[in-house]
Amino acid sequence: MVVADPKVTAPGSRHGEVPEHEIRTALVIRVAGEAGEGIKKPGELLIQAAARAGFEVLTDFAPPSEIKGGVSFFQIRLSSRRLHTRGDSPDVLLCFNQEAFEVNIQELVPGGLLIYDPEKVTPRDTSSYRLLAFPLEQIASKELRMPIVKNVVALGGMAALFQLDSAVLYDLIRELWERKGDAVVQTNFKALEAGIKYVQDHVSSADLERFHVLPHAPEKNRMVVSGNTATALGAVAGGCNFFAGYPITPATDVMEILAGALPKVGGTLVQAEDEIAALGMVIGASYGGKKAMTSTSGPGISLMVETLGLATMSETACVIVDAQRAGPSTGMPTRHEQGDLYLCVHGGHGEVPRIVLAATSVEDCFYLTVTAFNLAEKYQTPVIFMSDTVVCVRSESIPMPDLASLQIENRLTWTPPAEGATAFGENEGAYKRYAMTETGISPVAIPGTPGGQYVGMGLEHNERGRHRPDPRTHTQMTEKRFRKMEHAVTDAPEPVTHGDPDADIAIVTWGSTAGVAIEAIDLLAAEGISACLVAPKMISPLPRHQLVAAMGKKHVIIPEVNFRGQFADMVQASFPREVTRINVYGGRPMLVCHLVDAIRDVAQGRQGTGRVVLNPIIGDLDKLVTPDDLIAPLERH
């Protein structure tokens, strides 16, 4: 297929032109292709280069549903301001093939730019967007005689389009391919150059301006990491020295990164035979004195439920990561939902208190993992750290954590009385593992400590760790376990707050939906509608004190990505009052534009309390073709 004029063209759009921004504050780029085309790596180079150039970046990666073939995309949002979501829809869409075009074109903003390979893609209905033909295949195969470097040609083109400093990309390419020899590095350099040149020759400077977004001044000490990577780094920072786990999407990265890192600090990672075993091993290691952790997704938490009860009952410190995915049973492994809240907070028989934290951003994944270890140690209890597909898969540029400023807690240990440090026998009975205290926290003897011998247990027990099923023991021990939670809530991390504290409308939410709320509040502020946000990072025990102000507002809106409104239920149980629930449950994140509409409806009196269900995806549901409909259902779980 030949395109007459490969320059950026601006056909009269039915939606009208994209407004000419004086200076763009953000730009969303989506690169879509076959999974096998390896779009992730060049995408990562691009974001690393952008971050080094001083951009705030936030990405999203939609993995394909097959290992090779199937459409996947990589989305990058650049800005000079802190970002909180991946952006509802792309301003620029690069398609490697027709299928990628078909499934993504409806999401391109009206007047946005479609970049496509004319040998592979025949655009249709071109009236609503602008076009740039970019003969990637031809440049790679015919000019460079290296079909494999097609992605790097595309990378060069993108860099030129966004006027990124190419020197950074040359550095990154060298860092990445150095090990494979100079010839490989040189070939990739050539590909990069060819891509840059093509765009410089074919795109007018006026059009370049259209997509220009200014970075802030380049800052030192920033890094680009995914939520999962941040969680793994947080584990290392929090003192983790034992990990057991079983692979599962989307949590596996945490395990893989720790498999490399833990041996470097004398720690150990065990690939368990299942999640029940993983948590059992974690409990055993923690009993042995280690800071132990496992990571999984919903199906794994389901399996762990009985063992979680053992951790609470035996008062064993441990950290469990739940990177939530969508749907019950196997559900949709690569999709997003905030559906595990009931499970994480209440899952288990009997009354089984535990601490639950939830990340609102990539940065939270680091700091809350550290907090999870600290709380687990301090309160000798399991701590579930919840992330979700949105935060665990996306990458963000974040300030490099300052390790010196981190507080690290260690469990209160029992030491033998100074005089007569004796082995068992002489002062048997002196040590009470489950001693009653005001806080509920009892000093724990680490195996190897003479005289500290005790049996960790899931049976109800007295202070000395002997099974006693009498009402007095169970009453007192139940109270002891819950008393720890009363104290733990005073250690709740600060919530995310945003917007106008005097507003009549409060948004109360949790997890990654907090980012959607922040951006919605900013957009509404520009319209003159004010709202405020509070998103606690400790979900259980619920820090009521953080919510009191918001729950006293005229309107309370609780948006979350699930059907039942699980968080809303918890909040309303604690603050019995009417709220407006906003739910989306299509396996995709909530869109900022939808939340904006919903809040505006409340502000302008078109929506009262009750429940609003949002259409999960842009456009007409019937017409929209999603990648899932086009490919065979073999997913990596």
């Binding site: 680009v224 368990a272 091993m281 068992f424 048997e428 247990m457």
Partner: protein, 288 residues
């Protein structure tokens, strides 16, 4: 945490806790407990350097009666918890206890992997071919045709052979004892404790209360110690004796050497706790 103590000689009573066993009079588990006390005394183990981990069942109560550290976990999960304790603290001796249901029904999925990993654990299964704690249901080691409340017309399943399982799953020390012979059982447990790698010791430990088929008396008639010229270095030979139709052999069926899990894992350690800040700094750099 480590306190230098003068070397002390422990008596049998030093291994007994102040909690008295709650088993029915005549329960086979008393013999196992005695054998454990004896084995520990023979090696003069310091009680604070031993951890006894168990699952759930009558048999799994055993840690309460031993003066060492212990962990009474949940049904079927003795080996994962013990794996965590041992991998975290290879400096301690970790013993694991299960009933036949705990090990071969609900916990079977873990037991095969613990053996495959050749963890340096001593696993004692108190095998009474019945579920004792829940008052007498058929277990995976109950024979075909066995009558209980859950199999009123006779057990339709064939019994699992614990020794054959252990031999083929990679346990490096495989033995069977009988709780009616606690001195010999103590020797087996001692050998298991001394063995470097996974020691699997199935013990006939009758439940006189609920199992009227496999009793001290029937076992006495059926068991025989492996012949003195028996070669325990050969897995095929071990399997042949483990599956023998005419005799229930006792003794050490298999003894081999193989690298343990902890050895391999510790070999992979390239740093220590002291390197944490440096390692983290390096990781931060890589992502910047």
């Amino acid at each position: 945490m480590t306190v230098d103590l003068p070397v002390r000689h422990y008596e049998l009573d030093d291994y007994k806790s102040d909690e008295k066993p709650t088993w029915c009079p005549g329960c086979g588990d008393f013999g196992v407990l005695n054998a454990v006390y004896r084995a520990m005394r023979t090696r003069n183990f310091a009680p604070h350097e031993v951890v006894a981990v168990s699952g759930i069942g009558c048999s799994s109560r055993i840690p309460y009666f031993i003066s060492t550290y212990g962990f009474h976990s949940v049904h079927g999960r003795a080996t994962p918890v013990a794996t965590g304790v041992h991998v975290a603290r290879p400096d301690l001796k970790t013993l694991v206890f299960s009933g036949d249901g705990d090990a071969f029904a609900i916990g079977a999925g873990h037991v095969v992997h613990a053996m495959r990993r050749n963890l340096d654990l001593t696993y004692v299964i108190m095998d009474n071919a019945i579920y004792g704690l829940t008052k007498g249901q058929t277990s995976p080691t109950s024979g075909i045709g066995f009558h209980t409340a859950t199999t009123p017309s006779g057990n339709p399943e064939q019994a699992l052979n614990p020794l054959a399982l252990a031999i083929t799953c990679g346990a490096t020390f495989v033995a069977r004892g009988f709780s009616a012979e606690p001195a010999k059982l103590a020797d087996l447990i001692l050998e298991g404790l001394d063995h470097k790698g996974f020691s699997f010791i199935d013990v006939y430990s009758p439940c006189p209360t609920f199992n009227k088929v496999n009793t001290f008396k029937t076992y006495k008639d059926e068991v025989d110690w492996l012949p003195s010229d028996y070669d325990a270095s050969n897995a095929a030979n071990a399997l042949a004796h483990a599956t023998s139709e005419d005799k229930r052999y006792l003794g050490v069926f298999l003894r081999r050497e193989a690298p343990t899990y902890a050895e391999q894992v510790h070999k992979a350690h390239t740093g220590t706790e002291a390197d944490r800040a440096k390692v983290l700094g390096g990781m931060f750099k890589r992502y910047s």
